[in-house]
């Protein structure tokens, strides 16, 4: 409590003293609040320890000028967490110690679990199964909703699809072109070195054509889109969960599968094959430019040689992959977005999981495509 003409506040101090009848006493004075203790807590704690070895000593705290819970706790801990028998307090300071007396017992530690690793493994497997079930459920719901939409096409979320198409497709043209071009140059440059040594220069067209159109173009575009649009979708749905917007849609009777998820899946399923065409085209251009400089095959002859080297069915295969990859990325991103719990950490974890899972899923799907279509579209010499 402050007074109008308060005496100067002194530093906290511990001293050996004597009571009026000559008994040993410990005297504390000065300010024992956080402002004073912040820098001196450790040394004062040691001093208090030394004085508290004698349980019979008298503690005189009446000359403390300022006290708060921090100071009281420091003194109380030095006492061994209980009050000494002989204690003198300044007026108004009693309240700090009475709060402390009721706070003593420690929180129980977590019990040791010898099966912790087994349990963790089981939990991880169950979680995977739960994710698979969740994605299947979501897919089923979307299919049911699309059936309803087929009967009432005017109620379809066409504006949302168009907006999503712009975000995931048009706005991704720049980054996919840049990455595709660089990959094309690198691939062409490295292959050219090898081909030159065996004198098989013209095969650069076959290598780049098949490699980029059939495999690299789709996978690169899908990885970029998963990182770019997949994370955005998860974060958007996650924030809508945190801010209860999803619940608001539900109580208005607007199914969020139709309004939010279906447009994203449709948009990615449309945009992905187009992005793949674009990425592959740019990558081939990069490869052709590099081949011109390394091997002397002109860009024109590269392009005219392409139809002979790469059967047209490869393009259809790449587009088909694109539809599947796009739908997969959107489905996984939406699934993780809807699972976000209303807290910030869950949002971060959900977004990371979404990107990692969709890239993995894309590569697994690509492997399945490779096995199924192993003898389609590859012309042997």
């Amino acid at each position: 409590m402050q007074q109008a003409a308060a005496p100067a506040v002194l530093d906290p101090d511990v001293r050996q003293a004597r009571t009026a009848d000559g008994a040993p006493a410990v005297e504390l004075s000065g300010a024992w609040d956080i402002r004073a203790l912040e820098t001196r807590a450790r040394s004062l704690k040691l001093q208090l320890r030394q004085f508290s070895t004698d349980p019979g000593s008298h503690w005189n705290l009446s000359r403390i000028q300022r006290l708060d819970h921090i100071g009281a706790l420091l003194i109380w801990q030095a006492w061994g967490k209980r009050r000494p028998a002989r204690l003198a307090l300044a007026q108004g300071h009693e309240v700090f110690f009475s709060h402390l007396d009721s706070a003593a017992a420690a929180a129980p530690a977590a019990p040791f679990d010898p099966l912790r690793l087994v349990r963790a493994l089981g939990a991880a497997l169950l979680l995977t199964a739960e994710h698979l079930r969740g994605i299947a459920q979501l897919l089923g719901q979307i299919l049911l909703d699309s059936l309803v939409l087929l009967r009432h096409p005017l109620r379809g979320p066409w504006r949302e699809i168009s907006a999503s198409l712009f975000r995931v497709g048009t706005q991704a043209l720049g980054i996919t072109a840049l990455v595709g071009f660089l990959i094309g140059i690198v691939l062409s440059y490295l292959s050219a070195e090898q081909l030159k040594s065996v004198g098989a220069n013209v095969f650069i067209i076959n290598i780049l054509g098949i490699g980029i159109i059939r495999e690299l173009g789709p996978v690169i575009a899908a990885v970029l889109v998963a990182g770019r649009s997949g994370s955005a979708i998860t974060a958007q749905l996650g924030v809508m969960r945190v801010t209860e917007e999803l619940d608001a849609l539900s109580v208005m009777g607007i199914p969020h599968t139709v309004r939010l998820i279906l447009p994203k899946i449709v948009a990615l399923a449309i945009a992905m094959p187009l992005l793949i065409l674009w990425t592959s085209g740019i990558a081939l251009t990069g490869g052709a430019i590099s081949a011109d400089m390394q091997l002397g095959i002109s860009v024109h002859s590269f392009m005219t040689g392409l139809p002979a080297a790469v059967p047209a069915v490869n393009l259809s295969l790449a587009m088909g992959k694109g539809v599947v990859f796009g739908a997969l990325i959107a489905l996984i991103a939406c699934h993780f977005g809807l699972r976000v719990q209303p807290n910030t950490e869950s949002l971060g974890i959900g977004t990371t999981n979404s990107v990692v899972t969709s890239i993995t899923a894309v590569i697994i799907a690509d492997a399945i495509f490779a096995v199924i279509f192993a003898d389609v579209g590859i012309s042997l010499l």
Binding site: M1, Q2, A4, D33, I34, R35, L37, E38, T39, A41, R42, D68, H69, I70, L73, L74, Q77, K81, V95, H99, L100, S102, A103, A105, A106, A107, Q341, P342, N343, T344, E345, S346
Partner: protein, 263 residues
């Protein structure tokens, strides 16, 4: 005595829209001041300016006698350790448990050992009436009332001299808000806190505040006790205090306290 808060000649402008026009406000140590005003009157903006989260267009804000804008980072850091803020939604760190939320400001000081911090956190939990078994929980698992009380414990853990409360009882049921008001009052009495709060809740306002600052027409139209505030004939005050709800709240507390705001 130096005032705890001193706002002088404060202007806030967003484009052409003037929120505060030459606003002055002084809060002395130990006072409980409530900021009231219609929505859009700039209560929250004013509080954020006093907290140093936003910068006024013109004018000075001093806290503990130190100007917030233009002082060096070290001084500002000192001020920030002397105040505690209870945000409207609690603003508990959702990645940390209840215990770690309260322990965070203490750990940041790097002056105390873990044993000390544990006892201090448990003490603060006791003070806001939260059972210890909740200490390990995450904020997402708690009810709104518990989040408020834990956020108050976190605001109080560094023994602040000045406490800001943004809508302390909004979203609490009447019983909980009653006990929250009691808690704040008892803390104010034992710790001699200076309290600045923004509230719409008349019961809270009437039972806690020494002074009421009414924000309307871009400035403080009244700054004084409840009786002084009611005496002013202004549409906002007539609506707020002397409307049907206002009169009900005033008559409910008139029986227990004097209408001059002291208790």
């Amino acid at each position: 005595m130096t005032p705890v808060i001193e706002v002088a000649g404060l202007w806030t402008q967003f484009g052409d829209h003037v929120v505060h026009r030459d606003l002055n406000l002084t809060v002395m140590p130990g006072e409980v001041v409530s900021l009231v005003g219609g929505s859009g009157s700039g209560k929250t903006t004013l509080m954020r300016q006093i907290l140093g989260l936003e910068r006024p267009t013109r004018g000075t804000v001093k806290v503990f006698g130190i100007p917030l804008h233009g002082s060096n980072a070290q001084l500002l850091h000192k001020i920030r350790k002397r105040w505690g803020v209870l945000f409207q939604e609690g603003a508990l760190y959702s990645a940390l448990s209840v215990f770690d939320n309260i322990a965070l400001p203490l750990r940041e000081l790097r002056a105390f050992d873990e044993d000390f911090i544990r006892d201090m956190v448990l003490l603060k939990l006791d003070m806001v009436d939260i059972e210890r078994r909740h200490a390990a929980k995450m904020p997402a698992d708690l009810s709104g009332g518990m989040i408020k009380r834990i956020a108050l414990a976190r605001a109080l853990v560094l023994e602040p001299e000045l406490v800001f409360l943004d809508e302390p009882t909004a979203g609490l049921d009447p019983d909980r808000s009653e006990s929250f008001v009691k808690l704040i009052r008892s803390l104010h009495e034992t710790l001699n806190l200076t309290v600045v709060m923004v509230t719409h809740d008349l019961d809270t306002l009437v039972s806690l505040s020494d002074k009421i600052a009414v924000l309307a027409e871009q400035k403080l139209i009244v700054y004084g006790t409840l009786r002084e505030a009611i005496a002013v004939r202004h549409p906002f005050i007539l609506n707020f205090f002397l409307g049907e709800r206002g009169l009900r709240a005033l008559s409910a507390v008139a029986a227990t306290i004097n209408l001059n705001g002291k208790h």
